[in-house]
């Protein structure tokens, strides 16, 4: 059974200018011990999908459709009649069955609380143990994520830590209760390149050590390539292509996936291959049309693309893509 299963999830935000359809009909699943990469540019809905799953949407956001199951347990917001019931269930799940690693280590730690208090909090929330025991476990966690002299550092405040060290603390907080699912929301975006590599190594090691399913949200395909088993490509609030890492890198089907791959720089063939940015800008999710959201930026767009969303075509057990070009009626090209 999947650790996390999302079916037909849609999330909307009500704003002054109208309703923003941030997540549209997204289905995903993560297995035990697997790393799923979710890739897309800013505003593609990848983070909001995960915030919907965690029940941490901003006040104006709402899940309007879909089901979410964690380890078989139904946690779809729509299955609960009262917000209070949902909150009560989610308080048990968050930090325990499902934890999140956040983007910016500089702003996600509480500046006025000691690391100790922030790190033992999830442990005490979900375990019936004493503070002293929780502290011992917290020190153990700090050691696990590679923070030197944790006994001393646990008494310090976040501002006494560097960015990389703070990100390790955030990872330690997420790992506190051995969650079944870990959602990492661009965990390396705010870090220096050298620190990025260290943090990625850390997550890679954890993947081998833990039995959790990990979801790695990023806009950097390079990051994904190094640790992900499967990759989902999101665009305009939808998943446009999903497959194993090999399938995405070597047999991309969607023009957007191909475009993303063209944007990766490879130091070895810099002079051979030109970096090609994708022209245009992301779609306006306030009034998005019926068709494929990528149409306006797609070089191979056809008439049908703007009129109707393509069906998802399955290429293998793991590989599928939603694009009209894969339709049998589409003109074949030598690509």
């Amino acid at each position: 059974m999947s650790m996390l299963e999302i079916k037909n999830l849609s999330t909307e935000f009500s704003t002054e200018n109208g309703t923003v359809q941030a997540v549209r009909d997204v289905s995903l699943h993560v297995e035990k011990g697997e790393v799923l990469g979710v890739v897309g540019e800013s505003g593609s809905g990848k983070s909001q999908t995960m915030f919907s799953v965690m029940g941490l949407l901003a006040g104006n956001g709402k899940v309007v459709e879909g089901e979410i199951h964690i380890d078989g347990k139904d946690i779809s917001p729509l299955s609960f009649k009262k917000a209070k019931e949902y909150d009560a269930v989610m308080s048990d799940i968050r930090g325990n069955d499902m934890a999140m690693i956040f983007q910016d280590p500089m702003t996600f730690l509480n500046p006025v609380l000691r690391i100790e208090k922030q790190l033992i909090e999830p442990i005490l929330n979900h375990n019936d143990i004493s503070k002293a025991e929780a502290k011992e476990r917290a020190i153990e966690l700090m050691r696990k994520v590679g923070i030197p002299s944790p006994e001393k550092r646990i008494r310090q405040y976040p501002f006494q830590f560097s960015g990389g060290m703070r990100q390790r603390i955030i990872i330690a907080i997420a790992l506190a209760c051995n969650p079944k699912v870990i959602i990492a929301d661009e965990p390396t975006t705010a870090l220096d390149v050298t620190i990025q590599a260290q943090v990625l190594d850390l997550i890679g090691n954890l993947k081998d050590e833990l039995d959790s399913g990990i979801i790695m949200i990023t806009h950097d395909l390079g990051v994904v390539a190094s640790i992900c088993d499967r990759i989902a490509i999101m665009y305009g609030g939808k998943i446009v292509e999903i497959g194993t890492a090999d399938e995405i890198f070597y047999e991309p089907k969607h023009p957007y996936t191909k475009g993303l791959l063209d944007c990766i720089s490879n130091p070895e063939d810099l002079d051979k291959k030109e970096l090609r940015p994708i022209p245009g800008s992301p779609p306006d999710l306030l009034n998005i049309g019926k068709g494929c959201p990528f149409t306006d930026r797609c070089e191979k767009a056809m008439k049908i693309c703007k009129l109707e969303m393509p069906d998802t075509k399955v290429f293998s057990d793991t590989h599928s893509c939603a694009c009209w070009l894969t339709h049998p009626m589409a003109k074949k090209e030598g690509n």
């Binding site: 909150d87 930090g95 500046p111 006025v112 979900h126 997420a174």
Partner: protein
Amino acid sequence: MAKYITKRVLIGILTLFVLTTATFFLAKATPGSPFSAERYRNEEAREKAMAKYNLDKPVMEQYFLYLQGITEGDLGESYIQQGRTVNYYIEEGFPVTARLGSIAFIIALIAGIGIGTGAALSKKRWINNVCMFIATIGVSIPSFLIALLLQLFIGVQLGLLPFIGLYGPEYYIMPAFSLALYPIAMIARLTRSSLLEVMRQDYIVLARSKGTPYRMVVLRHALKNAMLPVITYAGPMFAFLLTGSFVVETIYSIPGIGATFVQCVVNRDYPLIMGMTIFLGFIIITFNILTDLISAAVDPRIKLK
């Protein structure tokens, strides 16, 4: 830390010294004196009185004598109520004012933070509106008006509470509330805006992602951060409440320090004016130092250097 406190205390003493000097020479430069020829028909008596207060000596000598007195803790003697020292007035009036001011301060903190938090977090619009209405009223109604209205309606017409003097716990209610209304409103506003800001921060999302219940997220993570601007305001406000209010003390016939301060100005009782000024200066400086220390204790990022 110890170094910081020593430094702040030394600067405080220097400030007090400047304050003393300025007050002294301003008092000297003010025309008129309680020992004018019109009030003392008898020249001999006048000279005797002048000699008693060192007024026959050169100004600089008077100044040094005054400073000497202060270092010994002696603020001089009243010109008007002869035989009564300035220390006597402070010892008599300050405990009364301080007790009333402290009660008002506690009311202001509890009510202000409560109202502000309610306004910030309530999902019901009317609660927010009621809280903000109270806050607006509190800022815009002057304390003399609220003191008089309370006295008239609750004290005289309804006869619910005593309204003259301070002879028991129930006597404190109306004057303390009159003093507290403005600070309640200010603290409620500060708490509300600051808490709204804090609840939008990323670390609140992280706290929620740990499975911490909403109530604990507010209490443990949000309020401590949100209290910083409130502390900055509340410290000097407490000093202000401790120094008394002429209006409230007069309306409720409270023998406090605030009324004394205004009376001594009217009477041109220079030793009392100077003594009071220095004493109030001392309180305000002390509370500013305390405010900074408390802020640093709440927010470890504030470095005391």
